[in-house]
Amino acid sequence: MSADGKFGDYGGQYVPEALMPAIEELNDAYERYVLDNEDGFMDDFRARLRDFGGRPTPLQRADRLSERYDREVYLKREDLLHGGAHKLNNALGQVLLAKYMGKERIIAETGAGQHGTATAMACAHLDMPCEIYMGERDINRQRPNVFRMKLNGSEVNPVTVGRGTLKEAISETMRDWATNVEDTHYVIGSVVGPHPFPSMVRDFQSVISEEARTQAREKLGRLPDAVVACAGGGSNTMGAFAEFVDDEETALYAVEAGGSTLEVDEEAGVAPNSASLTTGTEGILHGARTRLLQDRDGQIMESHSVSSGLDYAGVGPELAHLVDTGRVTAVNVDDDEALTAFHRLSQMEGIIPALESAHAFGYLESVAGPDAPDSEEADGLGEYVVVNVSGRGDKDLESAIEETYERDIDIAPNMDEFTGGL
């Protein structure tokens, strides 16, 4: 990364002028507190991640998956972090930073509700008032998370414009920030947005790969041959990859949501997937130049995924750059494969994963499962694979019932008794 926050041609600061002084102030705070550990900020952050968050999370051998895929499969258990997902790493870091900066109010957007939940928890923990913007459609499909945010004392503001998902929620949070910029910090939920957000969020999340790298050394006596993580905006992805980027012997796989199809309906402005690394083109959205799902004019398309946490038309600029340079391989898994993997991990390992994380396991199945063609892709995974379990699936149970019922998933339990939902 260069000093102006560029990753190759990606990144930058494409935001309204009213926000620029706040972004400069944030950049200054990022450099002082996060990069230089001024006032012991990073020590404070790490201590809170341990005591409040429950870090370190385990690196666990998945015995039955190892047998099924005929290689050593290890799980980085971010689902065991407080709140049930990797999101707390970033939310706690940013809310704490806002506190050090003297900000008095926190706002955040949320898609699946995991980032909103993590931010609400961090705000309660650090005594900061908090408002969360969430698309109306997401509110309807993630009700338990809405309740969790409210339990922690946050306000949840529904966003009704557009299709009411993450993209609209980010735009609306930016509008709030532009209005209340002087006393408010915007806790962005992924490695997206204007510099310094992509770098700062990566740094807060990189504790995942820092631990995984040390744990692999201790348990395996070596580094893994591959790390696999799902990718929407890319925060668990960058967190799981960051410390491995310089280890060239470790392959990095970013698994995107292939949705129902990779085909695009340009007329309707709909991409029925969220695979911006796989199918996207270069453009500017929400403060950064990156790869986007957009039509040929540059209008942003509506994305889709069975997992609302991956349902976003853009992706972090650094991840896009790492894919362009060949360091990270972008692959994708469709809704059906992800849902099947959700059931398989639940049955075989006793871990109900988030639908986001299920995509990473769907990839393993597609290249190394019993029905997979003998492909070079499976060789690419090598002998030792670490899969990032970015979150647990409790939040997804209602959608899992609905989506499983609509599909013919042979390993799923008999769905007849669940037709009315939970």
Partner: protein, 292 residues
């Protein structure tokens, strides 16, 4: 006429409408009504799907216009079809400028990699110059990222208007004022666009910070009446920018199913009130503000 010339004879009235709101033909009539009402410059919005700097009024205009089929290509046709003589400024978001014409049909056909070849902002600016646009306002493009667009504007003789916010001070202000041409858009208050019932008191201090810069200062964000216009010009503005109050008239006409001529007359009436207010405000200003 250049943008700066439009500010030469007294205070300039700069109205905004989203092109194609709610449909192409009505929108042509609405924009032309603004000129009859006394517009000196017209800001024409090319709608982008993620308008992060806009409040609900203009967000809804963007939705109507996009649903009506507006695209960058249609926008340029719209400008050619418009019968107005005052200078036009295109207000849009950077992705549309950046993406325009960035791949020829031939490149597209031979391109199977999924990669695109980007030519940057130049093709958009070239086309804008060809149809007679005089300048740009790009709300998500701060001075730091503006060099490629500034270069293209210089090449084709177009102005690049920058927004100065109430939070803009010191070095940032200098950096913007080095890049700006045509006029500077003084954001009257923090937040997003939208009509307000009172004038922000941040306006006076914003104008004060700009006194030493020799470029016309047009104030926007929240102006909705002749009375606002008068007070803002009296406090030192060289022009006023009004969007949401005019877009409200378009929205109301659309919801009530009023015919385009009636809506155009209402726009002309409000435009005249705003212009008259601005002129009245100018007569209250000291003739030559002292510069230090």
């Amino acid at each position: 006429m250049s943008l700066e010339d439009a500010f030469a004879d007294g205070p300039a009235f700069v109205p905004y409408l989203a092109a194609g709101d709610p449909d192409y033909e009505s929108s042509l009539k609405y924009v032309e009504a603004l000129e009859r009402g006394g517009a000196d410059v017209i800001e024409l919005g090319l709608p982008f799907s993620e308008p992060i700097a806009e409040g609900p009024t203009i967000q809804n205009a963007v939705v109507r216009s996009l649903e009506g089929g507006m695209t960058p290509t249609r926008f340029f046709e719209f400008v050619e079809d418009l019968d107005v003589s005052v200078p036009l400024v295109c207000m849009t978001y950077y992705n549309l400028i950046y993406r325009y014409g960035d791949e020829s049909e031939a490149q597209r056909a031979s391109n199977t990699s999924g990669e695109t070849v980007s030519n940057g902002p130049r093709p958009f600016v070239e086309k804008a110059a060809e149809v007679g646009i005089e300048g740009f306002v790009v709300p998500d493009l701060p001075a730091e990222e503006a060099d490629p667009l500034r270069e293209a504007c210089d090449e084709f003789g177009l102005d690049l208007v920058f927004i100065v916010a109430p939070t803009t001070r010191g070095e940032r202000l200098d950096r913007i004022m080095e890049q700006v041409s045509g006029y500077v858009y003084v954001q009257a208050r923090l937040g997003t666009t939208g009509a307000q019932s009172s004038v922000s008191d941040q306006t006076g201090s914003s104008l004060e910070r700009l006194t030493d810069y020799d470029v016309p200062k047009a104030v926007g964000f929240g102006i909705s009446s002749g009375d606002h216009a008068e007070r803002i010009v009296a406090s030192g503005a060289d022009g006023i920018i009004v969007g949401s109050a005019l877009v409200d008239i378009v929205a109301e006409g659309h919801e009530n199913g009023d015919d385009a001529e009636t809506v155009a007359d209402r726009l002309e009436t409000l435009a005249r009130e705003l212009k008259d207010g601005a002129v009245a405000g100018a007569s209250q200003r000291p003739p030559h503000p002292e510069r230090t």
